[in-house]
Amino acid sequence: MPVYNLMVNGKSLSVEAESDTPLLWVLRDELNLVGTKFGCGIGQCGACTVHIDGTATRSCLLQISSLEEAKITTIEGLSEDGTHPVQVAWKEHDVPQCGYCQAGQIMTAASFLNSNAAPSQSEIRDAMSGNLCRCASYNRIEKAVADAAEKIA
């Protein structure tokens, strides 16, 4: 099996995996980073969202062989201790119900706020619409993203 050198959460790691293995399963099965969730496997739900060079990307569709040069950030590496403004806003708003989709929601929000520091409400709603939440905690996610934007600003 081929060996890949990856940069995950600021650390260089080498991983043995089949070349077509999605990043999602490398993270979860090989690197023990299970914060990134499996939801649909086809890039429709957003539960597996990570940052590739700072941009929110679906890790279920990303083959490991394409990532040797990339800077990969997962929910575990978004901040040292859960103090990224988006994580803080999530806690202040007590957003999660079951909590399963929230890592993906947070990663989408953090990347979005990097590219748009002062979003309008409709920009937030559009940006977050790629992430499903069956508990429908959407109202709180929306408020938490708006609050996080203010914290960053």
Partner: protein, 718 residues
């Protein structure tokens, strides 16, 4: 043998305490049951096996409290709210409380279930009494130490104080307290003195959730574990003819492939290999009885229009009322099947060896599932150990342990520890759906009043459970008949968030909107007038309280500004009692590009005492949005036994840009609390449908609304 009366707890059996070897005090208690007299508490917290009690509190020497929360957590918040109740009566600062998920007690437990919004309602008294009893023991221990009467000692916020002003921390007397007799008839706090209950407590797993710590079943790992994926018949009504696993076995990482029943298991060293191994299988299926939605529609409509069915409730003389009516309204409402679509796909860990069976994972019914696994493997239930993980949603799907049974069977056959992982396609298509249901509802109107009401349910596989025929409008209309009939399908069905009422409420609340229109009456006033007819307490089968229902209706109408509608906004009203909780909702919509857009929902809720306002609000808002999403978009049909959708590209769940703002108002109450996981959902579809009628003139009789509106697009635009 001593006989126990129905109304009293045998406190001796229900609470036990013990000093811990490592310091501190352990309190074990049983939910619901007075239980056996011979139960003994374990002596070492590290070796808790949960065989004797189903819940524990540990008070450490430093006064910090660990509460082992017994009920499965599926996102309904009981892992936070149940310990809050204990902490309230124990009277410790909430910041000093640490919560752990307890495992399963297969011996004594009668209620370690997440379902039916019952966790809080069923355990309210027990949780309070346990906390209060422990507090009293600490007080008694301090009194003994000071050599004064316990009546001169009080406790508050983890501090015990004597009348003369001496103080001790809980931790200072736990050792002595653990050795005392368990006191009886301990007084409980008056609700007005609550300090924890009624104040926001953040989700106890919040930090772990937002930092991505392992919590869920899919995160569960054990050394030597293989991943199993399973190929099932693609259509209901198919059986496995034969299969070729040559290509599958060539996939790197695949370790085994075998048949069990009509399914094929692929084992692999990691998830991706298991996925690929399954994809490489070539299977041939035998077609048996393949069913379709078209056929179901015919059969269910046939049942509605036939005399077949069981009478579930009958009051007065409906035939006479209909014969004498000035006007009769007669409608049929139709719903599709629905998959649950928990965001965490089904999965379960199993390690079956000749010595033991270890199961771990997300399950709403640990006890029932352990029993079924024991039965499958021909073992005694106590040989099955079940560890509970947090669940990425339940919605009823995880009441059914089918995936745990599959995991146990695969592990048993493979002789290895395995984790079964469903793909999204497996999850959406493996079965146990909300059954497709149709209702025929008719009412007789005479002299401006509703004189008769007939409702017939025709459902796939099973019918509304026993209490539902006694929900509104039973008791409010003198002549009433509720009937049900079903067609047994090979498509598997089961409970789905607010079973039956998730659609029944839409049907009835749409129907009453139409009745109000026919009587030229305001929709809110009609409901209040009907509720005025209820002679409360006269019929103990009636489940709802007319007075509590009227209060939520008035509150929703007030907060939703029912009597004032701005330009371009259309409002719809709905009120429904389910799972012991009364809810009323006002939906506001606008029309954008010819289609309805839900702008805002105002909900009024009476669930008795609100334990955790932030969690309670989250449940109701989520329930409303979930209800709107499924009413608007949820579509799931069958052709030749095959489901119409298998992933989120073809199955539409509500997304943020489609959600309204939901405002929730709770009735201020000192009545014992009821559940909130489900009751917010049922009224939502009706409120939106009635608002759409106000906007377009179009009565929606089928879900999902988007499909029904598209089919009748010209009428909507007109």
């Amino acid at each position: 043998m001593k006989k126990q009366t129905k109304t009293t707890f045998s406190r001796r059996g229900f609470i036990r305490t013990s000093a811990l070897a490592g310091g501190g005090m352990l309190i074990g208690f049983n939910f619901l049951t007075a239980c056996k007299d011979e139960v003994k508490p374990p002596v070492d917290i590290a070796n808790l096996n949960f065989n004797d009690f189903n819940a524990y509190i540990k008070i450490a020497d430093n006064g910090y409290v660990t509460i082992f929360s017994p009920n499965p957590e599926i996102g309904q918040g009981v892992k936070t709210s149940m310990p809050m109740i204990v902490a309230e009566e124990l009277d410790v600062p909430w910041e000093h409380v640490h919560v752990e998920q307890a495992g399963l007690d297969t011996d004594n437990y009668r209620g370690q279930v997440a379902g039916g919004s019952q966790s809080i309602r069923q355990n309210w008294d027990v949780l309070r009494q346990t906390g209060a009893t422990a507090k009293q023991m600490l007080v008694n221990a301090a009194a003994a130490k000071w050599q004064i009467d316990a009546s001169e000692v009080s406790a508050k916020n983890g501090i015990i104080t004597s009348k003369s002003g001496k103080t001790l921390g809980y931790g200072d007397v736990v050792k002595e307290a653990a050795a005392l007799e368990v006191p009886e008839n301990v007084p409980l706090k008056e609700p007005k003195h609550f300090k924890i209950i009624g104040n926001d407590a953040l989700n106890v797993d919040l930090d772990k959730i937002v930092t991505g710590k392992p919590l869920f079943g899919l995160d569960y790992k054990k050394d030597g574990m293989h991943i199993a994926s399973v190929m099932r018949p693609p259509s209901f009504g198919q059986t496995l003819k034969d299969f070729d696993d040559t290509e599958s076995r060539k996939i790197t990482g695949v370790t085994d492939v075998f048949q069990f029943g009509d399914k094929i298991a692929v084992l692999a060293k990691n998830t991706w290999s298991a996925v690929k191994g399954k994809k490489a299988l070539k299977a041939n299926w035998e077609d048996n009885a393949l069913e379709s939605t078209e056929k179901h529609d015919e059969l269910l409509l046939g049942l509605l229009n036939s005399s077949e069915g069981d009478v579930r409730r009958e009051d007065g003389d409906v035939d006479k009322a209909f014969a004498e009516a000035d006007q009769i309204i007669d409608r049929i409402y139709e719903s599709p099947f629905l998959p649950h679509n928990c965001m965490e796909p089904m999965n379960f860990y199993a390690d079956v060896t000749s010595e033991k069976v270890q199961l771990a994972g997300p399950i709403q019914t640990p006890e029932g599932t352990a029993n079924r696994v024991a039965n499958l493997l021909d073992l005694a239930p106590e040989e099955i150990e079940v560890e509970l993980t947090r669940m990425g949603g339940g919605f009823g799907r995880r009441l059914y342990g089918d995936f745990a049974l599959e995991a146990a069977e695969i592990s048993s056959k493979a002789g290895k520890p395995i984790k079964l992982v469903y793909s999204r396609e497996d999850d959406m298509n493996a079965g146990i759906f909300r059954p497709a249901i149709k209702y025929r509802i008719s009412a007789s109107l005479k002299d401006g009043k509703v004189t008769g009401y007939k409702l017939k349910e025709a459902a796939i596989n099973s019918n509304m459970y026993g209490l539902i025929p006694n929900f509104f409008p039973a008791g409010a209309i003198p002549n009433l008949k509720i009937e049900s009939a079903n067609y047994k399908s090979n498509i598997t069905t089961g409970a789905w968030r607010a079973p039956y009422t998730n659609f029944l409420a839409f049907a009835e609340q749409s129907f009453f909107d139409e009745v109000a229109e026919a009587l030229n009456q305001d929709a809110v006033q009609l409901r209040l007038d009907l509720l005025d007819n209820v002679d409360e307490g006269a019929d103990d089968r009636i489940q709802y309280s007319a007075s509590r229902m009227k209060e939520v209706i008035k509150l929703a109408a007030e907060k939703g500004d029912w009597n004032n509608t701005p330009d371009g906004i259309y409002k719809g009203f709905s009120a429904y009692y389910s799972h012991n909780t009364h809810v009323a909702e006002v939906a506001e919509i606008s029309i954008q590009n010819g289609m309805p857009k839900v702008e805002r929902v105002t909900a009024a809720v009476d669930c008795g005492i609100v334990i955790n306002p932030t969690g309670a609000n989250n449940q109701v808002v989520g329930g409303v949005l979930d209800g709107i999403g499924h009413a608007m978009y949820g579509d799931f049909t069958f052709e030749a036994g095959k489901p119409s959708a298998s992933n989120f590209d073809t199955y539409r769940l509500i997304r943020m840009n489609e959600t309204p703002k939901v405002a929730v108002h709770f009735i201020d109450s000192e009545i014992a609390p009821t559940g909130l996981g489900e009751p917010g959902l049922p009224p939502a579809g009706g409120a939106v449908a009635n608002a759409i009628k106000a906007a377009t003139g179009k009565r929606l009789l089928k879900q999902p609304f988007t499909k029904y509106l598209a089919e009748t697009e010209s009428e909507v635009k007109g």
